[in-house]
Amino acid sequence: MLGSITVLVICQLAGEAIVRLFGLPLPGPVAGMVILFLGLVIRGRVPKSLDRVTRGILGNLGLLFVPASVGVMVQTDILAAEAVPITVAVLVSTLLTMVVSGLTMQLLDRKARKDQP
């Protein structure tokens, strides 16, 4: 278990370093995700303990957003002053993005499947 946690942390650090090294427009953790992905492709399978640790983390992703979300309480001035545009814009944009993404993928993927013999 400790080994798997170490792998995740090291991948993140390597990601941060690579992003800085090449001036990439990405956050370090995303580069770290790419590194781990390539590592898994090379290795050809997911080690059992890494599987268990990632399941544990990804099963509780919501928890990790809590400390930042409580920050609402110090943003009340701006949120209250612009509550209507913020709420409507977030709702409209989120639902529209959902519909466009879902329909695009369904359309393209179905077409791709049909084109294959």
Partner: protein, 241 residues
């Protein structure tokens, strides 16, 4: 020996473990409630936890910064959690090899819609330019969104809050709207959750199924990359039209 409840409370509230304990306890309670209510999306655990913790902090007069410093351990795990998304992604490798052009095109189209629609609608509704800029990267995961927000002149701390609101909105209404417009493919549903509502949407996607979750996880990274590139390029134009 003495009996001093006030001193005992001060020891709890002043402990560096207080924020951590509060976060873990309230979140587990919220998950329990969510399960008890038949996983109804409206009882989103992140939303419930946020509201309860805000109430507790306000009533006991504890400052947000004090809480955050003590709960920072949880916040810092967002990084390794993002890295961990490589594992479900790897599991979808065979189907990914087949459909990567569609996945990529969807990530670009969805991220562009997310960015353009939020800035334009906020602008039309009279939002200040600071709010427009802070809203721009709202659909991507916190570490990416805060970085983008800072780069384009938004307020990263406000962006962090808007990211959570977006994720909660996606998790609550996502399954409903996707079914309404007849998106049935698990891969398409997963991508939609990940592109529009990042990791909080992904949690909801995993509840729908393993394939949905894996594609949502993949979409977090892709949409994050696309948004990080697209936002600085388009934002000047978007805030002027």
């Amino acid at each position: 020996m003495s009996f001093d409840p006030r001193a005992a409370w001060e020891a709890i509230a002043g402990s560096p473990m207080f924020g951590l304990a509060l976060t873990l306890l309230v979140y587990q309670g919220a998950v329990w409630l969510f399960e008890r209510c038949g996983r109804r999306p409206a009882i989103n655990p992140v939303l419930v936890t946020m509201l309860v913790i805000i109430a507790i902090l306000s009533l006991s007069g504890i400052a947000y910064q004090t809480y955050f410093d003590s709960a920072k351990m949880v916040h810092l795990l967002l990084g390794p959690a993002t890295v961990a998304l490589a594992v479900p992604l790897y599991r979808q490798l065979p189907s990914l090899i087949r459909s990567w052009p569609a996945v990529l095109a969807t990530a670009v189209a969805g991220s562009a819609v997310a960015l353009i629609s939020v800035v334009v609608s906020a602008r039309l509704l009279g939002a200040s330019s600071l709010v427009q800029l802070s809203l721009a990267p709202k659909s991507v995961t916190t570490p990416i969104a805060m970085g983008v927000s800072e780069r384009i002149g938004g307020l990263p701390s406000l962006t962090a809050v808007l990211v959570v609101l977006t994720g909660v909105a996606g998790a609550i209404f996502g399954s409903w709207i996707l079914t309404l417009v007849r998106v049935r493919s698990p891969a398409a549903r997963g991508l939609a959750f990940g592109i529009s509502a990042h990791a909080i949407g992904t949690t909801r996607a995993f509840q729908e199924g393993e394939t949905q979750g894996a594609y949502a996880g993949l979409a977090i990274g892709l949409a994050g990359i696309v948004t990080a590139i697209l936002t600085p390029l388009l934002i000047g134009w978007l805030t002027q039209i």
